[in-house]
Structures are given as structure tokens and as C-alpha cells.
Amino acid sequence: MQSYSRNNIILRVNDLKTYFFTRRGVVKAVDGVSFELRQGECLCLVGESGCGKSVTALSILRLFDSPPGRIVGGTVVYNSTDLASCPDQELRKVRGKEIALILQEAQSALNPVLTIGDQIIEQMKIHLPLSTDEARFKAINLLREMGIPSAEDVLNYYPHQLSGGMKQRVLVTMSLCCDPKILIADEPTTAVDVTIKAQVLDMFHQLKTKRQMSLIFITHDLAVVAEIGDRAVVMYGGRDVETAPVSEIISAPAHPYTAGLLECLPDLSREMSRLNSIPGMPPDPSKMPPGCTFHPRCPKMIDICRTQEPPLAEISKEHKVRCHLYA
């Protein structure tokens, strides 16, 4: 049983390419990524540092620094508008209102000199026809819903007065205050402790079940993906290498990188005497290897991998992989 509908696609990213034109050369941070987000599902973008997962998220709302960054190709279609090419004015109506983003590092995502209340209310007043009092009332209710005790007091706090877990909740509250249709969360569980991580995951789970939010959840942790995701896009070297339902990614990974990643993960639910490791390291985005970006580390590399970019192959309707072995 799947809780999301198969056909109701709310956001479609097609062959997205975001390059950064720096003095030292072109950094192809995102180099051809495609996926769709369906109504009410949690889609995970998973990969190691430098794989382009965060830049993909930022590209959806065009929030990277430009220059040097630029979307050089592809489309991001939301409500039949291409967010990758629409005028800024139009995009501004989508940011925060339709699609909200929770940035990595709760600490630096909040303004240290404004109170929590100011920061939440500011956004509501931009997008919604509310008075300050009405906005305040709504903020308090939302904070309560996110499990923050004494919400009225928290509105008057400055970020430094809150703990890491609380800041994460405040950020989620802030992203929800304009009732967005899509929530993008960039590594929300990374810098927090295990017991708090469980609380944060629980909160996102509630968002999905109670509010039927469509989530894009970015993480490097496959175990987190297994807990929260419906479908996952595995990224490597600026490309989507495998897209499938999470259960299939975990039980039957097709791409050698996904398989390797799973084998090198110490996990409490499995017994293991020795971890398998992937030799080498992730590529430098300014010096991507030719052909398949994973070929220098791949145990199943064949000649064609060195020169030709692998096409997207379909293993089943729901399971796609970018690898010559399946082409």
C-alpha cells in the first residue's frame, strides 16, 4: 500500500543542470538530474558530499548565488510554470508560499538579531493578508503543533536561547506558516543528536501523514531514507544514478554505487563482521571524470563506462538506473 497517488505529479524536474562559473573553471554541481515529486509523498535525495543534492534543492527555487551559479539547462515545472526560467517576480510568489525550503544547519539559517516571532511573522505578512496579531496567533498555534512547549515565550526568544532540536522545530514552523504545498528539507537531521534526530524524523512523519505534505528530503544517511522516504533518488557526481521506491533501493539496489553505499554503512539492524568500502573518493565537481562519473571507483566497470555517459535504463516502471550494465 502506498499512501501517495501515482499520477498526481506536483513538481517535475527535468534534466536540470546548474553550473558555477568560477575563476578556476566551471563547476558542474548538478549535471542532468531528473525526477518528479508526487502529491503527498516523501522523496529523498541521497548522496555523499559534493554529489549535488543541496544544489539541486537550491536550484528548484533558484536560491544559489548568481553569479557564479547559473541554471544552464533543464526545467523545473510547478503548476505549469517553469521555475528555472520564469521572471524573478513570479518566482518570489512561489518561494516560501508554495514551495518552502528548510536550510541545512538550523544555527545559521536563523537571524541572530531578530526574535523568533519577528522571523516567523515577517514571512506571513509578506505572503498572506494577515495583521500582526493574526499572524502571531497563527505562529503560536503552529509552534504548539510542532511540539514546542510555552510557544508564547518562544516567540520572544532569540535563536541563541534555543537548543539545536528546538531551532529545527522553529525552522519547520517557519516553513509551514504560509501553508506551502511542497516542503524541501536539506539535511534536517544531520547536526542533531540521536534522540533529537528521532524526534525530528517523527515530526516530519507527522507532516506527511497529517498534513499530506509533499516532501523533498535531502540526506546523506540511507538509514534515515529507510525511515522516512517513499521513493529515493540516489545522486553521484552531479547526476541521478538511481531512482526507485525506498524498499527497492534498500533490498535490491541496481547501481553499483547504491549497492556499495549500502555495504559500507554500519547498521544496527544487520550483523556484519567487516564493512565493505568503496575505494577512492567522491569526484571533485570541477574535475568530473568523463563517461560515467562513478567509473573510477566502480567494481563492475566496463570499457564503455570510461567514455560514454550511461543512459537512463528502466528496470521496472518505478525503478530507473543510469548505468551501462542495464542499458
Binding site: T195, P266, P279
Partner: protein, 325 residues
């Protein structure tokens, strides 16, 4: 042959308080009790894992054992000698035997020294070998940690995170130590690199018969590297057991909650105990059992009396009123 029964290191009732002062007279208004009466031992060739959330005092404990922080109370006994009161000169000798690997390989290497210089620095300080012997040693060490000899002339910024951590390990191994305190050595690394470093550390242990005190917040990592595991909460050890016992039969409610909170590839394998609230401040820890405000099994006794760490079965100790014999 390493003998696992004879403790290499014994820590008894170790305390580290940081005084808190106020006003221009620096009035003493309290202590942050980072480590508050911790006892354990590490056998020769053994790896003891120390796990806990941020602020539980695990890193302070690691540093105090090396006397990088001066203990406030208690004893550290290394090979039968009390090292708590050693003077500077004797301490320097001790550090040949006990080394540390830090969490952040970025910050623990001098950016102006080549990695060859960094790795050889301990040899220079301790006056070991001449230039040629050090050169040989360097090549051997680089090989041991999986780096190329020609990388010795590189600077830290030219290396990746994983390579820098390899340098950190090589530097710790330079003096042929008996005990290595590894303070979150893989938490800053990507998963595929983390596996490489963990395997490297285990291989080195097998080859050289080292003991590890392995500090980490990640239970999955600890489970992989440590035979015996101590769980810390707010400056205290709440449970200490062999790996199988701790993961198979956790006794302390905190350990149970911690284990159930870890996301796993097969969700639902363990019933999740969601803890409410957050870790209290070590400046003003709750009276009685420090875990009682968050404990799902709290009893009246927990609010008043601090439970002692008691061995409830062979090698399995727990500090909890639920398990008083």
C-alpha cells in the same frame, strides 16, 4: 600476546569540573560537571567504545585521560602507575604510550606543515632516530595508513577529509603507542570514506595489538569497532557491557531509548522509545538519577537517590534503580 584481562588503563572515580565564575572578582558560582565520577578499565589489545550524546562529557573524558585536561578528582592508572599527578617531564614520556586522534582532521593538522613534517613531528620531539631513520619510518607509516610516499610533501589543504584523517592516524602511530584515544574519528567523513577509515583502524589494531578508547555518538559505528561499550549520560556512565549484551539486552532506559532512536535500514526492527525533552545542563544536573526527568520508568526513588553503577551480571553494569539486586 595481548592479555585482555590485565587492564592497561584503569580510571577510577574520575572527575572534571569547570568552574563557573561571575563578576569582576571572579566569584565562584558553580561548576560545570563535565565528567562526574567515572570508572572503567581498558585491557591490553581491547577496544572500549564510549558513546553518548553531545555534552555528555565523552570528549572531556578522553582528553582528561591524556592529561590534556587536568582532572578535578579521581585516579587514572596506566600500567599500574598513577598518572594523575605526573609532572611535565614524566607526562611527556607517557604520551609516547597514549596517543589521540581528533575528530576534525581539518583543525588538527598544522596548515603550514607538510604532512610528512606533521607525521614526523612526534619523532623529532622525542628525539627518536636520525633523519634517515625518520624518513624510513615516514614511508612505513604512510604505507600503513594507505597513503603514497610521494604525498608526504603535500600540505593539508591539498588532501581530502579522509586522507587528512589517515594522516592523523599515521601521526598517532608514529611513536608506537599502546593506547589510542580516538575522539569521533569518523564523524566528519562521508559514508564511503568512513568505512575505509574504520576498516583501517581495525586492521592496525590487529597488526599492532593496540588498545582503543573509541569515542563516538554513533551507535552503529561503535557497534562495529568496540567489543565493550560504555554509555554516558550527563557526565556519568549509565551502562557498561559487552557489545552483544548491550545491543541484545540493554538494561538502562536511556540505553534502550538511544538504541531505538537510531535509524536503521530495516525500520521497525526495534520499538521506538521517543524521549521527551532534551539533555539538561551539566551546570545544574537533576537530583537523584540524572536521567529521571526524561525516563519513561521513573519511580520516587529516582528523584532522590543517585543510582550507583552495579554489576548485575558477568561484565554487565548498570546505574539504575530498576536493576538493584
Amino acid at each position: 600476546m595481548p592479555d585482555k584481562d590485565k587492564p592497561l588503563l584503569e580510571v577510577k572515580e574520575l572527575k572534571k569540573y569547570y568552574p563557573l565564575t561571575a563578576g569582576i572578582t571572579s566569584r565562584h558560582i558553580g561548576d560545570i560537571k563535565a565528567v562526574d565520577g567515572v570508572s572503567f578499565s581498558v585491557g591490553e589489545g581491547e577496544s572500549l567504545g564510549l558513546v553518548g550524546e553531545s555534552g555528555c562529557g565523552k570528549s572531556t573524558l578522553g582528553k582528561t585521560i591524556l592529561r590534556l585536561e587536568e582532572p578535578t578528582g579521581g585516579k587514572i592508572i596506566y600500567k599500574g602507575t598513577d598518572i594523575t599527578t605526573l609532572d611535565k617531564k614524566a607526562l611527556r614520556q607517557l604520551r609516547k604510550e597514549i596517543q589521540i586522534i581528533f575528530q576534525d582532521p581539518e583543525a588538527s593538522l598544522d596548515p603550514r606543515m607538510t604532512i610528512g613534517q606533521s607525521i614526523c613531528e612526534p619523532l623529532v620531539i622525542h628525539n627518536i632516530g636520525d633523519d634517515r631513520e625518520r624518513e624510513e619510518m615516514l614511508v612505513w607509516l604512510l604505507e600503513k595508513v594507505g597513503l603514497e610516499p610521494n604525498q608526504a610533501s603535500l600540505y593539508p589543504h591539498e588532501l581530502s577529509g579522509g586522507q587528512k584523517q589517515r594522516v592523523g592516524i599515521a601521526r598517532a602511530l608514529a611513536l608506537n603507542p599502546k593506547l589510542i584515544v580516538a575522539d569521533e574519528p569518523v564523524s566528519a567523513l562521508d559514508v564511503s570514506i568512513q568505512a575505509q577509515i574504520l576498516n583501517l583502524m581495525l586492521d592496525i589494531q590487529n597488526q599492532m595489538g593496540l588498545s582503543y578508547l573509541f569515542i563516538a555518538h554513533d551507535l552503529s559505528v561503535i557497534k562495529y569497532v568496540a567489543r565493550r561499550i560504555a554509555v554516558m549520560y550527563l557526565g556519568k556512565i549509565v551502562e557498561l557491557a559487552e557489545r552483544e549484551a548491550l545491543f541484545g539486552n540493554p538494561l538502562h532506559p536511556y540505553t534502550e531509548a538511544l538504541l531505538s532512536s537510531v535509524p536503521t535500514l530495516i525500520p521497525g526492527a526495534r520499538k521506538r522509545v521517543l524521549l521527551i525533552g532534551e539533555v539538561p545542563s551539566p551546570l545544574n544536573p537533576p537530583p537523584g538519577c540524572r536521567f529521571h526527568p526524561r525516563c519513561p520508568h521513573v519511580m520516587p526513588a529516582c528523584r532522590q537517590e543517585e543510582p550507583a553503577l552495579i554489576e548485575v551480571s558477568q561484565g554487565h553494569s548498570v546505574a539504575c534503580h530498576l536493576h538493584r539486586s
